[in-house]
Amino acid sequence: MNKNEIIKRLTDVFRDIFDDDSIIITEKTTANDIDDWDSIEHINLIGAVEEEFGMRFKMREVSGMKNVGEMINIIAERGN
């Protein structure tokens, strides 16, 4: 799976979770860039991403991801 495809599907997940169709994500996007992205929504986001790509993040990864780019790298490695 290439990064463009991942970003496309990931964008849909972000837009659903935050109910905002104007969200555009890049590898550099962090929680600071999206208003409603707090610790609770982070949990929901992780769950929805896991569901979308049929994989699970490891505990270290959940708390260690610095930006969307790192999320994409993990998905590229293990996602479907």
Binding site: V13, I17, D19, I40, I43, N44, A48, E51, M59, S63
Partner: protein, 599 residues
């Protein structure tokens, strides 16, 4: 909204909840507002956001208080200013086996020591409940406990003294005992729910380590739905009728083609046995006061022949309305509803034909449909759907079906009278109009919370609020029962008036629709005026608050002879009656002459 009626897609709800909430809030439904305190032993945000959606869909607009993480005990026992100011209408204690602090530790402990652990653990929770009831006297919903997934000792864990599973099972029994002894205390049975879902799907240890989630995120909507069903039942928003198709729903085969001897019903065949089991299951709903109706595309004589089949558990008498004809089913639901005196929204529709279910869903978006693909599937959907969630059982629930059948006989008698007054006199009606006697308090609250049509203010009361009113010296309370030669209708009308010097404000005036047009409301007014005079009250102020459902009483006070004081743009109105020259209006019902048994 179909997405929020069981069976729902939890993943869809978790992902789309913001959009769903927006859509619900924009749909223009009038909702009752309730303040719900959630005291959690784990992270409760996901439970709360799903609970909000389900409640909005049930017509309840919640406002939430959430305790800080794992501060359920502190909030309840030591109190918090935020919770006090919040003044909850209902409290939900979301605790799980993760919050058990006194589990057995060693097989060396004696049975007495384990028993003491159990008692201490129980008291820990009982302290919470006692303190909350004292402070807020409002309904409390408490989770029981799920079994853990991991066991050290194999099967022994479930029965040995030192077993965790055995400890949890015993504690759950103690919780149930408390619930049975205390009105307004309800168990949210996550022990059942976790078993139905499966413990391997329920538990998610990593989600606990990471987020302090006590269960997998995906099952949280199931937990929330279960709580929402209890809450909507407490506030009288259950469905009331199961409307059933016949061919391939109550028996196998098509009776019009196969004949009564050709349908598959009876323990002789597997398919026949499945329908016997389904009918037995449905009949049990009737025992709890759910009304049954038939909605079938059939000639009526065939429908009746099928229900009179020797193996049919359900007989024609079990149904309050039988529609067997070739009309479209949405018309038949509408007709059954008006015959019974209910709104079509209070029906649940069961049919093996998905096309019929689709028609009903299109015409009545609030009517849940169960598409019967197999008998067991339908029973599971009815079980988990929570359409008829029971939170209390009154005497009326047990006799409801008979009362509606008596109504059918009255309608038949009415046809033989040309003068309506003569018909009313022929019914030989006796009413009992009393204060709120303790034995009726539960029924009065139940009726108050579910009456929508003949209800001028639609004010709702919890059981404890009603108890406060019942003990207040500043209120006039009337509880009306009506019986006639066809049967006893039980408690059918409730009036609450608040005294303010020489004025009485009518806070509540409602009547069950099954006694419409019997002059019961006039008998209630006569009694209200009599009691007002005893207290030196000179005028009565009546209030009409318009809702989408109570149009039938928009002019009730006018019909009583009240003068209109004001009318608002939103349809509300205020009325006044000077009672100094009031003359009695009821001439057909004998009041308080006959003994009513107050058992």
């Amino acid at each position: 909204m179909k997405e929020l009626i069981y069976p729902f897609d939890s993943k869809f709800i978790l992902r789309k909840r913001r959009a769903i909430k927006k859509q619900l809030l924009a749909d223009g439904t009038a909702r009752i507002k309730k303040k719900i305190a959630v005291l959690g032993g784990s992270t409760t945000d996901d439970i709360v956001s799903a609970l909000e959606l389900f409640l909005l869909n049930f017509g309840i607009e919640p406002e939430f208080y959430q305790s800080e993480y794992n501060k359920f005990y502190e909030d309840a026992v030591f109190g918090s200013p935020e919770l006090d100011n919040f003044a909850p209408d209902i409290i939900y204690i979301h605790t799980t086996s993760r919050n058990l602090t006194m589990l057995p530790e060693s097989p060396a402990e004696t049975p007495e020591q384990i028993q003491e652990r159990l008692n201490n653990q129980y008291e820990y929770f009982q302290t919470i409940w006692t303190s909350l009831i004292e402070k807020f006297s409002c309904p409390i919903i408490q989770n029981n406990f799920e079994l853990p997934l991991f066991r050290h000792t194999g099967n022994y864990d479930g029965w040995g003294y030192s077993g965790t599973g055995a400890f949890i099972n015993r504690l759950n029994v103690m919780f149930s005992d408390y619930a049975r002894r205390n009105n307004g205390f309800y168990i949210n049975d996550i022990n059942y729910l976790s078993s139905a879902v499966g413990l391997t799907k329920w538990h998610d240890a990593e989600a606990w380590f990471l987020y302090k989630y006590a269960m997998r995120a995906e099952v949280m909507p199931d937990v929330a739905y279960s709580v929402a069903c209890i809450i909507k039942s407490v506030y009288g928003r259950n469905q009331k009728v199961i409307d059933l198709d016949l061919d391939n729903t109550l028996w196998g085969g098509v009776i019009g083609d196969d004949g009564v001897e050709g349908i598959d019903l009876g323990v002789e065949t597997a398919v026949g046995q499945s329908f016997v089991e389904f009918q037995t299951f449905i009949k049990k709903y009737k025992n709890y006061g759910v009304l049954l109706a038939v909605c079938s595309k059939n000639a009526e004589e065939n429908a009746l022949a099928g229900l009179n089949h020797p193996s049919s558990v359900l007989k024609p008498d079990d149904f309050v309305s039988i529609k067997a004809n070739w009309n479209s089913k949405d018309l038949n639901i509408e007709e059954s509803a008006s015959e019974i005196g209910l709104l079509a929204d209070s029906f649940v529709f069961v049919d093996d034909n998905p096309a019929e279910c689709a028609i009903i869903e299109a015409q009545f978006p609030n009517v849940p449909t169960v598409n019967l693909t197999s008998v067991s599937d339908a029973m599971y959907k009815l079980s988990r759907g929570g359409f008829f969630e029971v939170t209390s059982i009154s005497k009326d629930d047990l006799n409801r079906s008979e009362m509606y059948s008596a109504n059918a006989k009255r309608n038949a008698q009415q046809k033989s009278f040309s003068n309506y007054q003569d018909y009313l006199l022929s019914l030989d009606m006796n009413a009992s109009i009393t204060d709120f006697l303790p034995v009726y308090l539960q029924r009065i609250t139940q009726l108050t919370n579910k009456s929508n049509q003949f209800n001028v203010t639609t004010k709702r009361y919890s059981e404890s609020e009603m108890k406060t009113v019942a003990e207040s010296p500043y209120h006039i309370r009337l509880c009306g029962q009506l019986a006639d030669k066809f049967g006893d209708n039980g408690v059918v009308s409730v009036v609450i008036g608040r005294c303010d010097d020489k004025t009485l404000h009518v806070d509540l005036w409602l009547m069950s629709c099954r006694v419409l047009k019997r002059d019961m409301e006039l008998a209630m007014l006569d009694e209200l005026v009599r009691q007002c005079r005893e207290r030196g009250i000179e005028k009565i102020i009546g209030y009409y608050y318009k809702t989408p459902k109570n149009n039938m009483v928009a002019e009730l006070f006018a019909s009583f002879g009240f003068e209109n004081i004001s009318r608002s743009e939103n349809g509300d109105s205020v009325w006044c009656l000077d009672i100094t020259s009031y003359a009695e209006k009821n001439h057909v019902i004998k009041v308080n002459e006959k003994e009513f048994s107050h058992e």
